[in-house]
Symmetry: C2
Subunit: 333 residues, 2 copies
């Protein structure tokens, strides 16, 4: 467990929430020991909390290469080392994403047949949610890598959600076979031959309409789609608040509509969707948003716990071994 933009208080309340929710959970907190002791008075008395001291931390704007090279005693690196050596079952970080991906890859190594890790997370739908990857671990991805993402993502949805044959879609700019780049067309062929429950191309609006359980795309497009959604949701929230705050009558309306608006808000509470999994490594690494509260952070811990409990890595490893894909087609990044 490491802090993010908002620091140790958020981590502390997230850990406290997760511990109270799961009697089987124990947490190892990595960072400056005295700071942790001060911030976490409420939880460190628990016999389910350990502290491991580290002397450094990775800055949010530090380059992944520099963090990897010069911050060997950073909380991020020490936590990943604990995971690599089997002293913990999963690792949660709210730190610098690029540095986390680079360090996790260095410490844990990618799974056999996997060239690059991908970031997978859930987005809300009218009912339930949808999984999407890659959300930004990579910039661009050849067809073979997209195929690897699909296999790992499908394995995760099946394992963690208990869905038997989750449907998989490939994000494109049209649903017709003739559309898309050469990379997308080739990935489409690989997916059709994969044995997955592949439904074909999906478009941006299909992310939210329940067409598929898993959306596969490259990290650039996935990241833009995710952040565009976040930005639009924030704007709509701001404007609906503005409209209800316009005058006396609208404020009365706001009071009367408050339970409905609250129930609407709860259905899409972004905190429930916090906790993206870094997929494709020999170990469970969960990335929390940096700028969130304790409740959101506790959901990232929940995801890490669930993945460890259900042996996510073991399932993915098994599914990769059973599949016919090979990682030889592309050189490692």
């Amino acid at each position: 467990m490491m802090g993010g933009d908002r620091g140790l208080n958020v981590t502390a309340s997230g850990v406290a929430l997760a511990l109270s929710r799961h009697p089987d959970l124990s947490c190892t907190l990595v960072g400056d020991e005295s700071q942790i002791r001060t911030a976490m008075k409420a939880v460190i008395d628990s016999d389910r909390v350990d502290i491991v001291h580290s002397s450094e931390s990775v800055d949010m704007h530090e380059s992944p290469a520099s963090a990897l090279r010069f911050k060997k005693d950073s909380s991020m690196r020490v936590a990943l080392d604990l995971l690599g050596s089997g002293q913990v079952d999963a690792c949660v970080s709210a730190g610098n994403t690029g540095a986390l991906v680079a360090a996790a890859r260095f410490v844990l190594k990618t799974l056999s047949k996997i060239d690059r890790p991908a970031i997978i997370s859930t987005l809300p739908r009218t009912h339930g949610h949808v999984h999407m990857l890659d959300l930004g671990a990579n910039i661009d991805s050849p067809a073979e890598i997209l195929m690897q993402f699909a296999l790992m993502g499908e394995s995760m949805v099946r394992t963690l959600e208990g869905i038997d044959r989750p449907s998989v879609g490939l994000l494109n700019v049209g649903s017709e076979e003739i559309k898309g780049s050469e990379v997308i067309k080739r990935a489409n062929e690989l997916l059709k031959a994969s044995g997955l429950n592949y439904v074909g191309y999906v478009e941006g609006d299909d992310i939210f309409n329940g067409s598929v359980e898993l959306v596969v795309t490259d990290g650039f497009v996935g990241n833009v789609a995710l952040k565009t959604s976040e930005g639009l949701a924030q704007m709509l929230t701001r404007v609906i608040r503005e409209e209800f705050d316009r005058g006396f009558l609208t404020r009365i309306a706001a009071l009367i509509a408050a339970p409905v608006l609250r129930s609407f808000k709860n259905r899409f509470d972004h905190r429930a969707y916090n906790g993206a999994v870094l997929l494709g490594l020999n170990g469970t690494v969960v990335k929390s948003h940096g700028n969130v509260d304790g409740l959101a952070f506790s959901h990232a811990i929940d995801t890490a716990r669930l993945a460890a409990q259900k042996d996510l890595i073991g399932h993915i490893r098994h599914d990769l071994e059973a599949s016919s894909i090979s990682s030889d087609k592309v050189a490692p990044l």
Copy 2:
């Protein structure tokens, strides 16, 4: 003017609305003359409406190449020919986007220094709106093409919106200089040297937060961002309706909140954003969504009229001549 998925009734009511709004406007309707006469009884008596007969139409799922080759008397092609020969000042279509781009490029040719046309449209912001291109005329675009998009888009925002030096952002997965693909990094360098009011990288959430007036991206990413936004907005609308429809008390709340919700809805009425411009050609071509009503279609006509009235093409041509970009670096598609 040509119909879309919803056919001639939509076109008819859109034309009627636009004619009533603009006394200086006249429309030439292209398509099957007898069908037009039947559907458009309300408007064809106007001395500001002409009909030009065409015997064919391009199917929504027809390939652009096939439409270009075999549908020489399609309404789309005939309308573009009228524009090419100067008999009309702008062309509006709700037809097959790919076929429209291909035919427009063939008939009108790209402007000097421009290799490929791009689709530009507006998206809502908290206050006002933002322009974004390319929304899907191309699949991927090298840095030089992104630079061409930026120049044309900036010229359009300046000309049609009267903004002196509109700010321009390049869509990326992070705002730091080290992030992004090689294409994005090179486009960043070109934009920095361009003399435009270039603010640097923007992320998906910046589309809606007022950071920039113009967002530049390739057609794949732009199309996904646009459709993701549309899909999310539709889902949120559906869910808020569901929540207000849950029971007796929530229905009362809906009645009381109705004026506020209506005002909110009007601010983001997607119909006001209908009408994307196909930029980079020797002529103004406006693409309407296929599946819209007459009000939305009338906004696409408004955009075409405004572009013609403000001599958009003349301004872009002038700005391109004054710029130091050249189209020699990439082979035409």
